[in-house]
């Protein structure tokens, strides 16, 4: 598999007016809306490192490279790509960029758009296009890298990406603070932790079903990942101790959290003003509905709901949280995974005329992932 193979697959589809489902390793195939496609174009075999100069802290890989492979390669040089999207670590970097998937580390290291330096993609006419570059700072030309990030394969098939790496921290420790007490007390503790001088790598509030699944307690938990040099972690740990009791847990707990979403039928992401999430976090972290896994990033202002009872999903989501996407102008409700029939009636995020214009320009025959964004 190579860029040329992608070009010829797309050109062939173009000439036969048949459509393509774009897939990495097919681990996230169930995300997004159903695709009306005749064929699947898999990048599973277009994998591997193109160039890696550790001293530059940049890495160029083929799009089909699994995240776990990137982790292995960079770890040899005490570096990492701090990108930990939920789901299997066998997902590919191409899919991660294409879906703009981010995990807990995003609150300190940024979203995929912030870590991406440049990419190569093949548009719907079969043209090979490069955006950005291979250096850490670059404003040459219009920003096609950002445009493709989160476009779910509908504007082009990403074939290669260049990413910014970081040095692995000398210390990387995780602590759990049990969130006990009244709703008011919990909200004020969350506020105190977020507004403190702590600079955690990641900070998540987990509801009891998640806590039990990760086997780290019973109550809602504030999970804090502290990293950096040892002195910085020690001083933060002391600061944390002055705010609340905490216990150290294995940093592998974060992998457990990512894997919770594997095979989930329904994942909803709600994002809004971070402060509003902090204020109501206690109410949200209830233990009333064991089939709802819930975690909140109070720094970024993101709440994820993972539901295991698909038939009740719409109803319970509505009744439990009072969430109606159209009726909440202060928040964005994004349905990442839903059972097929539930998608009906959910508005597309790319129905505006600019988005439609971009789609027409880059994939004039609508052969790339048709339907996945509700278009």
């Amino acid at each position: 598999m190579s860029t040329e193979a992608v070009v010829s697959a797309i050109k062939e589809s173009g000439s036969t007016r048949s459509s393509l489902r774009i897939a990495g390793r097919s681990t996230w195939l169930d995300a997004g809306r159903p695709v009306r496609a005749d064929k699947t174009l898999s990048l599973r075999h277009d994998s591997g490192v193109v160039s890696y100069v550790p001293g530059d802290l940049t890495l160029t890989v083929r799009a089909g490279t699994p995240l776990s492979e990137i982790e292995r390669v960079t770890r040899e040089h005490d570096q990492w790509l701090p990108l930990d999207p939920y789901g299997s670590p066998d997902g590919t970097i191409g899919a991660t960029i294409a879906t703009a998937s981010a995990g807990p580390l995003a609150s300190s290291f940024g979203l995929p758009r912030d870590l991406l330096l440049g990419l190569e993609f093949v548009n719907g006419r079969g043209d090979v296009v490069r955006g950005g570059g291979k250096v850490v700072k670059n404003v040459a030309g219009f920003d096609l890298s950002r445009l493709l990030t989160g476009s779910w394969g509908t504007l082009g098939v990403i074939t290669e990406v260049t990413l910014r790496l970081y040095a692995l921290p000398k210390a990387d420790r995780t602590f759990a603070v049990a969130l006990k007490g009244s709703k008011k007390e919990v909200a004020s503790l969350v506020r105190a932790i977020v507004m403190s001088p702590l600079t955690p790598f990641a900070l998540q509030l987990l509801n009891p079903p998640v806590v039990r699944a990760l086997d780290i307690g019973e109550h809602p938990v504030c999970l804090i990942r502290l990293g950096g040099n040892e002195a910085a972690v020690d001083v933060q740990l002391r600061a944390l101790s002055s705010l609340a009791d905490s216990k150290e847990v294995d940093t592998a707990v974060w992998d457990g959290l990512r894997n919770l979403e594997n095979g989930a039928e329904c994942v909803i992401r709600i994002s809004g003003l971070p402060a509003s999430f902090r204020e109501v976090s206690a109410a949200m972290l209830s233990d009333e509905y064991p089939w709802i896994s819930e975690y909140i990033d109070p720094v970024r202002g993101v709440l994820r709901l993972v539901l295991r009872a698909p038939d009740d999903a719409a109803a319970s989501e509505d009744s439990v949280l009072g969430i109606d996407p159209a009726g909440r102008p202060d928040e964005h409700v994004v349905f990442e995974k839903l059972p097929g029939e539930s998608w009906d009636g959910i508005p597309s995020a790319v129905s505006d005329s600019l988005s439609q214009g971009v789609k027409k320009a880059y994939d004039p025959h609508n052969i790339l992932n048709p339907g996945i964004l509700g278009d």
Binding site: G55, G133, L147, T149, A167, A231, R300, G357
Partner: protein, 513 residues
């Protein structure tokens, strides 16, 4: 590529009233429309005055409503325009060649500040440093800090995706803008990104940032604010050889420590700064200094500070001085930030470049630059964001001397080629504008340039917003068919003299109407 000869453009038209001027005056008030050629002269260049283009008209709306009305009127008339902030850009990006300049510097309201959610919404004409002064009492800062922060506007920063010394750790404008209310060239107002959360769909906000005014203009911008670090420490390491400083830079980056900033100044730059009012007590006899800033929690910073000091000394630093207090820190920074302006002391004209190279190639490229400058007998002042590999080789010279101009031009072309060959980029933060358009084909394929043209056409199908910038139009397939389009034959090569005039045909050129 800088066109060194400042070619004074005379007013290409008689001072006869441009009919739309009166109608614009009805919108913004007579005082805020300029149509006399003598008053438009100062708008014929930005921070890179080697390029001059005389605008036909300048209009300065004072409110969002006036701005919308101005753009709608221009749209109805089919007139092209160039949005302009403070005119501090360094790529000739805000020049208007016989078309309308829309100055947004009067839109300078800070619309809202949300301390709890660490964000602010501002009008495009708000000056970067004013925003920082406004949020500082709340323990917050707006991280992107271009060296022109005291003058440049947030709108301009968005258009150029501006960087600055502290972008090494904190990222560029792109990483700090949450939402933009955009006024499209058609007059339609759209909201890109989200003021409140992370939205799905295409990242059109990301595409708009760095679009250099070609996609329309921003009416308001919502930015992310960053808590002020608990501790900030600044080191000054000085070296008797450029090579040592370059190797130390690579060693610091490779160590994994992410300084808040890591800046490099060479001997000629040090001395010109020391001669200016921003003299910062840099050692005049040094051949290079590194200005390194570390920030974060006190304990962590102290540990990193020791590590960095050791790397510097092991790498041959003569001295490593740590600023004692904020006043000394500010002084060290002022010298760095005003270095570009201080070069006006050397000669009347200045070429400023903005190439980026992979950081491991720094020692090699600096040696190449030195060899090139010796070959052509020019003095290159290097002052740059070493941590990012973002070079700013500057050459001060006199454009009145044609022989010198030619040598300078050739030297700069070779320097840029060396950076491109090293796998770098032609601009890290200044933008393409007019200045670097000639290099675009050296780093992007025809299909990539075409994809950029197509993206622009979505925002501005009539190509009326900042025409003739960023992407050379002959690179765009579909535009070859534009009636009356002036096409270049053959492909450009780096050894060609850059085009002194925009190469883009202007279907809606006012003089053609």
């Amino acid at each position: 590529m800088t066109q060194p000869t400042p070619a004074p453009t005379q007013a290409s038209t008689s001072p006869a009233q441009f009919p739309v001027a009166e109608r614009l005056a009805e919108i913004v008030g007579e005082r805020h429309v300029l149509s006399r050629p003598s008053e438009l002269l100062v708008y014929n260049s930005d921070g890179l005055p080697g390029y001059r283009r005389q605008p036909r008209l300048a209009v300065f709306p004072g409110t969002r409503e006036e701005t919308v009305a101005v753009v709608r009127l221009l749209a109805a008339e089919g007139l092209s325009f160039v949005p302009r902030g403070a005119g501090t850009g360094l790529s000739g990006g805000a020049l208007a060649d016989d078309i309308v300049v829309i100055g947004l510097h009067r839109l300078k309201k800070i619309i809202s500040l949300d301390v709890a959610n660490r964000r602010a919404t501002v009008e495009p004409g708000v000056v970067n440093l004013r925003l920082n002064k406004h949020v500082a009492p709340h323990g917050l800062l707006y991280a992107p800090d271009p060296s022109s922060e005291a003058a440049c506007t947030i709108g301009g920063n968005v258009a150029e995706n501006a960087g600055g010394p502290h972008c090494l750790k904190y990222g560029v404008t792109l990483n700090h803008v949450l939402a933009i209310t955009v006024l499209l060239p058609s007059g339609e107002v759209v909201e890109l990104g989200s003021k409140v959360g992370e939205r799905d769909g295409y990242d059109l906000r990301g595409a708009f940032i760095g679009s250099e005014g070609c996609f329309g203009l921003a009416l308001d911008i919502t930015v992310k604010l960053t808590p002020k670090p608990q501790t900030v420490r600044t080191l000054l390491a000085d070296f008797t050889s450029i090579d040592q400083a370059a190797h130390v830079t690579s060693a610091i980056i490779a160590s994994g420590i992410v300084p808040a900033a890591l800046e490099f100044m060479d001997g000629p730059t040090i001395r010109v700064v020391e001669d200016s009012i921003y003299a910062a007590s840099y050692p005049r006899d040094a051949e290079a200094i590194l200005l390194i800033e570390l920030d974060g929690l006190e304990a962590g910073v102290s540990a990193d500070l020791e590590a960095v000091r050791r790397i510097c000394l092991d790498g041959g630093a003569r001295n490593v001085k740590v600023a004692r207090d904020d006043a000394e820190r500010m002084k060290l920074w002022q010298g760095r930030k005003k270095a570009f302006g201080a070069m006006g002391r050397l000669a009347p004209h200045l070429i400023v470049q903005d190439a980026v190279i992979p950081r491991t190639r720094l020692p090699e490229i600096l040696a190449t630059i030195r060899a090139i400058s010796e070959k052509y007998g020019v003095v290159v002042c290097n002052v740059f964001h070493a941590g990012d590999g973002n070079l700013h080789p500057n050459i001060a010279y006199s454009a009145d001397d044609p022989a010198e101009s030619e040598r300078v031009h050739k030297a700069m072309t070779e320097i840029m080629q060396a950076c491109i060959d090293a796998g770098g980029s032609i601009t890290g933060e200044h933008g393409v504008g007019l200045d670097k358009m000639g290099y675009m084909e050296a780093i992007f394929s025809e299909s990539s340039l075409n994809a950029m043209c197509e993206l622009r056409a979505v925002f501005d199908p009539e190509r009326r917003s900042n025409p003739g910038k960023v992407v050379p139009v002959h690179a765009c397939k579909e535009w070859h068919a534009v009636p009356g389009g002036r096409l270049r034959t053959g492909t450009s090569s780096l050894t060609d003299a850059p085009e002194p005039r925009p190469v883009e045909a202007e279907p809606s050129h006012p003089s053609a109407r």
